[in-house]
Symmetry: D3
């Protein structure tokens, strides 16, 4: 694990996004709150928060960081004509630490997607997760990052 | 967490795939073994194995299962003309248990992708992970699954 | 950790209860879903499920068991005249294993209560958790248990 | 998880208490050190320390904090006439961090109680844990807290 | 992680030993129970039990196993003439599972030694841990093992 | 866990060493990269890094610290005449924190040794781990340590 002892403690923010394509029945279950396992977005949000806090245990060479804020949002991208039901996942992570939180944001977004898959897989296993990517990163000496669309 | 006490213990297998698109320099570093953080595929494989074993801690409503086998493979899909360098991740998980291991296979594949991102992000943060999906599932009473391509 | 190798694998169930007394404002926030941290009961339920799965890491001499089912319920016991607002927590845990799941049920109920405290403590820190106790236990050779009221 | 990046790092202390009512035989076993699983208070104290350090993994929306001190004490409250044997648990947690450690103190006290239950449940399962509550909290901008008795 | 799905579930036992050489003052503190951090052997024993249960998270390619019994013992090997104070650590682990528990026994013995080091390092940092080794292993098709002395 | 709130945050470094004696066939497998479970040193290095980050969960009274750097190296000490094949393990850990990282360095070195044992035990179970010891420690008010050889 590379040495970051010399880095400066600053506020650092990273934003990642992921997504999951579901079928019409899964969309209906989530929208109507009839999934038997519970509130899908509530469970996915908590999974994202807990996974973000555990990133250094999931990603071997990742530095442990005391996260100061995690925010996860879900939005629907629906195209009824093409029978397309997609959940957009947006994860923002903050720390006041020595290294960036890109991995924490990506891990949060991914865990949310995996949890949605788990909550809904009894209805259909052909959901597709992602693409998953870093959208933005600020703080730290190495320069900010913002994805070009 | 739904009750599975009545289910039968059988051998269950699940296969998931993910992928990550990297840039040319990252490809060269991995191919030549010059990444400063270590052997990228070796670290990613171990991350996948350890995350698979921890799936029930990452996915809230997932049943804990004593996994009996985990296999992770990496392949390059390269198109030099279009400057496309993509790592294909294939994860296969086995158990002898009461429920399937779809989530374990998906978690393994995803963790491998996230770890590759972490190992290579100093060279470029615009890598794209996935799509990630279940490819196949056998064992258990609910019927097998094989993704239609 | 005492040796249970000789015990028989059977379905075992344990039910525990806990509770938390909150103030009127906290009751209103939960009832109206206006707590800023999220859906209090949804988060508490997930905390209970995840803690139950982690019991052997929280209680040193507790045997690890592959839980097969966890169910957590919340009910209000309200006495407006005496300004008494209490959440009753009911946790039921199942396994198909060599030892009982009393500790898992107690840990689930307790973690739910602690999580409610955490979600609501910005409004008032004088909440009181418990008493917490085992209500019922079935399965295994040592005899069933049912609390006398 | 709410954003605390703007908060100030100060020394913060929280004190929680819990308790567990046991039967006469359990009291004798602990007092005489004859419990077959080991030294009950020693195991309970370690469980409390380890759980306090793991609070952010047990309580979903809890911020991870590098704890700087944890102290757990046990006292007996005995009333022979009424056959009442109760263990009082006192947990004090310190950090030098951005948020308070109320949850860590409550988690420590609770884990100690659960561990005592586990160590002694072979002798009697009708032990009663708690009430559990925060007694005192100092440090941070939001004001101190001290429970009114 | 190699596939063990085809293996047979049997009772498996493994015994490992480790040791730690301490100085005279540390010996006195442990013998007299005056270590400020607590009862050294009690804490070391619990550390061993908890680490054994966590072996599959510490050793990457190790299969998760539901351990059924863990026993840890400490003995003094003292030679006053040569000012030699050594703690012998003996760890025995049992499971009813598909693979052996050699790693669990070795991890238990090692964690006990590390914990003794931690509890006593304020008095002297030149303690020496080990050698650590497997002493015996029974159960499973691959044949038993017993160390030749 | 002793109170360290009053200590000063400084860069702290600790270096530990361990070792493992293997047989000739294991040496050949590692040297030629033919171990069926994977690249032995790569897996051992990652195990060491992850265990170092988890030290406060493995050693009960150890303070949690946000590690800033971990470096693990392997060297062979071979004496063909005496059929002696030994792997020397060197672990260096850094933090910018309130207490030292001796336990983290010792835990890293030990976990690397245990992982090598696990990767190679199919070829021979009589490997011997250690002695394991702290070599050097700098930073903090209590004075530096350097082992006298």
């Amino acid at each position: 694990m590379v040495d970051v002892s010399h880095k400066t403690e600053t506020v650092r923010v990273a934003i990642a996004k992921s997504s999951i394509i579901v079928n019409e029945e899964i969309h209906a279950q989530i929208a109507e709150g009839t999934n038997k396992k519970g509130d899908v977005f509530a469970v996915a949000q908590i999974a994202a928060v807990m996974a973000a806090k555990n990133t250094a245990n999931i990603i071997p060479m990742c530095h442990p960081l005391p996260l100061t804020g995690i925010d996860v949002q879900f939005d629907w991208a629906i195209d009824h004509e093409n029978n397309h039901f997609e959940i957009l996942i947006h994860a923002e992570v903050k720390t006041k630490g020595l290294t960036g939180v890109e991995m924490e944001a990506l891990t949060a977004a991914t865990s949310a997607a995996l949890t949605i898959y788990d909550m809904c897989k009894a209805v259909g296993k052909d959901m597709v997760i992602g693409p998953t990517m870093l959208m933005k990163k600020t703080g730290g000496k190495n320069g900010d990052f913002e994805r070009q669309l």
